[in-house]
C-alpha cells in the first residue's frame, strides 16, 4: 500500500539531482546525463499519477510514451552536436563553448 506521496517525493528528488547535474557538471555529456535523469523523473511522475488518479484513462501513458520518444530524439541530436563541436574545438567542456557571448 504505497501512497502516492512516496512516488512523488522520489520523483522530485530524482529531478533535483538531475538539475544539480545540469547546473554543476563541466563536461557537456555530463549535462546531458543530468537531463536524462530529469526526464526519467518526469516519466515516473506521470505514470504514478496515471496509476493513482485515473487508471481507467490512457492519457498518462500516452504522455509518457511521447516523453520517451522526445527524450530519445533529444539525446541523439544533443550528442551529435557535442561530437560536432568536439571535432572543431577538441573540447567538451561546457564552459568553453561560449562563442555566443557579447
Amino acid at each position: 500500500m504505497i501512497p502516492l506521496s512516496w512516488y512523488l517525493v522520489f520523483a522530485a528528488l530524482l529531478f533535483c539531482i538531475g538539475l544539480y547535474g545540469v547546473l554543476a557538471r563541466k563536461n557537456a555529456i555530463g549535462i546531458l546525463l543530468g537531463i536524462e535523469l530529469m526526464l526519467n523523473a518526469v516519466n515516473v511522475n506521470l505514470i504514478a499519477f496515471w496509476r493513482y488518479r485515473s487508471p481507467g484513462g490512457i492519457a498518462g501513458q500516452a504522455f509518457a510514451i511521447i516523453v520517451f520518444a522526445v527524450a530519445a530524439a533529444e539525446v541523439a541530436v544533443g550528442l551529435a552536436l557535442i561530437i560536432s563541436i568536439y571535432r572543431r574545438r577538441s573540447s567538451v567542456v561546457a564552459n568553453d563553448m561560449n562563442m555566443m557571448k557579447w
Binding site: 500500500m1 504505497i2 501512497p3 502516492l4 506521496s5 512516496w6 512516488y7 517525493v9 522520489f10 522530485a12 528528488l13 530524482l14 529531478f15 533535483c16 539531482i17 538531475g18 538539475l19 547546473l23 554543476a24 557538471r25 563541466k26 563536461n27 555529456i29 555530463g30 546531458l32 546525463l33 536524462e36 535523469l37 526519467n40 516519466n43 515516473v44 505514470i47 504514478a48 496515471w50 493513482y52 488518479r53 487508471p55 481507467g56 490512457i58 501513458q61 500516452a62 509518457a64 510514451i65 511521447i66 520517451f68 522526445v70 530519445a72 530524439a73 539525446v75 541523439a76 541530436v77 550528442l79 551529435a80 552536436l81 557535442i82 561530437i83 560536432s84 568536439y86 573540447s91 567538451v92
Partner: protein
C-alpha cells in the same frame, strides 16, 4: 511495512544513490554506467506501478539505446578528457542550492495538496491494457497527432544528428 513498501524503499535508495553517482563521478564512462543502474531502478518502479510495458520500453530504449549512445559519445570525445579532474564547475554550490530549493518548494506544494496521500485504486481488468494504449496512440479522436508528431520529430532528429555529426568530406 508490506513487502511492496520494502521493495520500494530499497529500489528507491539504490536509484537515488546511483543518480548521485551519475552527477558526481569523475569518469564519464562511470557516469554512464551509473546511469544504466538508475534507469534499471526506474524500470522497476514502472513495474511496481503496474505499467509493465513501460518497464520494458525503458530497458530497451533508454538503457539499450540511449545509455549506449552516451557511452559511444564519451568514447568518441575521450582524448582530451584523459585527465579526469574535478567534474564540478565553479558554480556547483549555486546549482546545489537551487536544486535543494526546488526540492523544498515542490515538497511544500505537495504537502499542502490534499491528494498527497491517496492510496492506489484497485485496478479492474480493463484498465492498464496494452491494447488500450495502442488504440489510443492511433485513434484520430485520441492521441494520433502527438504520436505522428513524435515520429516526425524522431525522423528530424535522426537526420539532424547524421548531418551534424557526420564526417564532412570536402
Amino acid at each position: 511495512m508490506t513487502v511492496e513498501q520494502i521493495i520500494f524503499l530499497v529500489v528507491a535508495v539504490v536509484t537515488l544513490v546511483a543518480a548521485i553517482a551519475v552527477v558526481t563521478s569523475r569518469n564519464l564512462i562511470h557516469s554512464a554506467l551509473w546511469l544504466i543502474l538508475t534507469l534499471f531502478g526506474v524500470a522497476v518502479f514502472y513495474v511496481l506501478l503496474d505499467a509493465g510495458f513501460f518497464a520494458v520500453i525503458q530497458v530497451i530504449v533508454y538503457i539499450g539505446a540511449i545509455a549506449i549512445l552516451f557511452i559511444f559519445a564519451s568514447m568518441l570525445t575521450r582524448r582530451v578528457m584523459q585527465d579526469t579532474g574535478p567534474q564540478s564547475n565553479s558554480n556547483w554550490w549555486l546549482g546545489a542550492l537551487i536544486a535543494l530549493l526546488l526540492f523544498g518548494g515542490i515538497a511544500l506544494v505537495l504537502i499542502s495538496w490534499q491528494g498527497f496521500t491517496t492510496l492506489a485504486p484497485i485496478l479492474t481488468g480493463q484498465s492498464g491494457q496494452l491494447s488500450q494504449l495502442g488504440l489510443a496512440l492511433v485513434s484520430p479522436d485520441q492521441y494520433v497527432l502527438p504520436f505522428e508528431l513524435a515520429s516526425v520529430l524522431l525522423v528530424a532528429g535522426m537526420i539532424g544528428a547524421i548531418f551534424v555529426a557526420g564526417d564532412k568530406k570536402q
